[in-house]
Amino acid sequence: MFFDHFNYWIVVILMMIGLYTLMSRSNLVKKMIGLSLFQISVFLLYISMGKIEGGTAPIVSNAPDVLYSNPLPHVLILTAIVVGVATTALGLALIVRINEAFGSVDEEEILNSEDSL
């Protein structure tokens, strides 16, 4: 059961680690790490779904009866990786600004200082 769908189990485990980190940590940088992990698990899901049993890399060869893996999900996920990088960069840039404005990257400390405004 576990090894039949090895990739998909890893996807689920990574996704849960990411979501848990995201929710349980109050440090904003750690939250971003959780978010990245969560997104990366979805990349893995897409990459796994393109694999066809016995299929080879989808590069046209002249050999007869070649079974190719599906390249489309890989192309799709390249786009999603770019989006993920942009999200991470923007999130980290915001954290830098938050650190400048509040003098902290800890969510609870920031909330406390917001109240005192």
Binding site: L19, V42, A80, V83, E114
Partner: protein, 498 residues
């Protein structure tokens, strides 16, 4: 001209997309704003052309790069997407008319080029979500919108540093929502082998009984609900709307959540089909209570807000509750009411946020207490706010009345106790709206101006666009054939599609 018309679906997207990097190069106060206004107006003009064309001759399919669907990416303008495109680009253009003075007051001049570039990208993304006929493309455009909206919200940091934390909170929640949508699309792709929406819809009945599809439906509905700010997922919206620059709030209040509502309608009615959504997975039983709770609880929460922008933001969540109810009814009348309310609420709420923006411009605050006596100092702006507030409550002659009238007819059509209960809930929520609007009006008009308060009426460049929205809302509240007509057409199309 014929050449440009036949490419209207893609031009409405490409124009702001290509304009964004150019806009980032402009410096000064006027150039980036004027450039953005022109591009947005062009996009609006193409959307109107498209809507007229679609309503006369039926849906238009556009093949990107000449690659035929289902392998190429297809843009589809049908009665619903063309109508939503007109709403988005229209609101965007109206807000831009207002933007020049307002945003120069809130964002450093050296950043204006980048600000308007992000604005154009947000517009691109929203228009793209609406017109695309490709499920993965939806995710891409969704992220274009989201990333630029995080930037736009964070631009409020000069006024209030909490804009940064609001933007960060929205980034976290919004990314989770978008990734859920990505998972849902991926699972649909596993089962169908296609990303074309029409193609998925065709195959959907034969695979609807499988577990990946059920999981996909769950991920998609939750992901979209986060983006709509549907009741339990609404936490990001009040913060984001309160601390963003005023024109950003006005723009997003009218468009961002509406686009997500469009996505919900598109997935429920076009891809899953009404039979599956409401017969097999019981979305009515899920969405209806959430809509009712949102409409009631958020209206009550709005009563107790100290900040005017925050009050209106909570009222937005409540109004989205009405739309959720309307969609969950699963009838043509309900769908008509929902689509109609997308239009009506967009125009009313944008007008309200613009008048609040004018008050902020003159007084430098949106805290309700500090706005005491503004009714005397800024009579024109305040009167605009009152008229907009009437539209929000749903007084006759305003568009709010029209959409509530259709909504109540639609819920009574059920003819059971749940229908009567829903009608009572909607009326109750309207009464709460009277209370929170009246609370503001009382402070604006009947409390003395505090000592030393300065600032007279806002400049005409702010008042005129604001009043365009207010008067426009009354026009659509009295002469209803345009908005009701297009909504009915879209609802008929969706119910007849499958």
């Amino acid at each position: 001209m014929m050449f440009f018309m036949s490419h209207a679906p893609v031009l409405a997207i490409i124009i702001p997309l290509m304009g964004a990097p150019i806009c980032a190069l402009f410096r000064g106060k006027t150039a980036p704003w004027l450039f953005t206004l022109i591009l947005s107006a062009l996009s609006f003009a193409y959307s109107i052309d498209l809507l007229i064309e679609v309503s006369a001759n039926g849906p238009i399919s556009y093949e990107i790069g000449g690659w035929a669907p289902p392998y190429g990416i297809e843009y589809v303008a049908d009665p619903l997407s063309a109508f939503v495109m007109v709403i988005i680009s229209g609101i965007s253009t109206g807000v831009l008319l207002y933007a020049k003075e307002s945003i120069a007051n809130e964002v450093p001049t050296s950043h204006l080029g980048f600000f308007f570039a992000a604005y154009l990208l947000a517009l691109t993304g929203m228009m793209g979500i609406t017109v695309t006929g490709d499920a993965f493309n939806i995710f891409v455009f969704l992220e274009i919108t989201s990333l630029s909206s995080y930037v736009l919200i964070a631009m409020g940091a000069r006024q209030d540093r909490r804009a940064l934390t609001a933007a960060f909170q929205y980034l976290i929640i919004g990314t989770i929502g978008a990734t859920f949508i990505l998972i849902g699309v991926g699972l649909l792709y596993i089962m169908t082998g296609t990303l074309n929406i029409a193609d998925i819809a065709n195959q959907f009945d034969s695979i609807s009984d499988t577990r990946p599809v059920r999981a996909a439906v769950g991920f998609l509905i939750v992901g979209i609900a986060i983006k709509i700010a549907m009741f339990p997922f609404h936490a990001w919206l009040p913060n984001a709307y309160s601390y963003a620059p005023n024109i950003v709030t006005a723009f997003f209040a009218g468009t961002a959540t509406k686009v997500s509502v469009y996505l919900l309608i598109r997935f429920i009615y076009t891809i899953f089909g009404a039979d599956f959504s409401f017969g097999t997975v019981y979305l009515t039983e899920l969405l209806l209570p959430l809509g009712v709770i949102a409409a009631l609880s958020m209206s009550v929460v709005a009563i107790f807000q100290d900040n005017l922008k925050r009050l209106l933001a909570f009222s937005s969540v409540a109004q989205l509750g009405y739309i959720t109810i309307a969609i969950a009814l699963a009838t043509e009348a309900g769908l008509t009411a929902g689509i109609l309310h997308i239009f009506n609420h967009a125009i009313v709420k944008t007008g309200l946020f613009l008048s609040v923006g004018a008050m902020f411009y003159a007084t430098g605050t949106t805290s309700i207490k500090s706005l005491a006596g503004v009714g005397q100092r800024m009579p024109i702006t305040s009167f605009g706010f009152v008229l907009g507030g009437l539209g929000l409550i749903g007084v006759p002659l305003t568009p709010g009345f029209i959409s509530k009238w259709y909504l109540i007819q639609a819920v009574l059509e059920r003819g059971d106790y749940i229908g009567y209960g829903l009608a009572i809930a909607i009326l109750l929520s309207s009464i709460f709206a009277v209370i929170y609007i009246w609370r503001v009006v009382e402070i604006l008009y009947f409390q003395p101006t505090p000592e030393g308060a300065t600032g007279g009426e806002a400049p005409l460049s702010l008042i005129i666009p604001c009043w365009i929205f207010i008067l426009g809302s009354f026009y659509f509240g009295i002469e209803t054939s345009i908005n009701v007509g297009f909504s009915e057409q879209a609802a008929q199309f969706l119910m007849g599609a499958r």
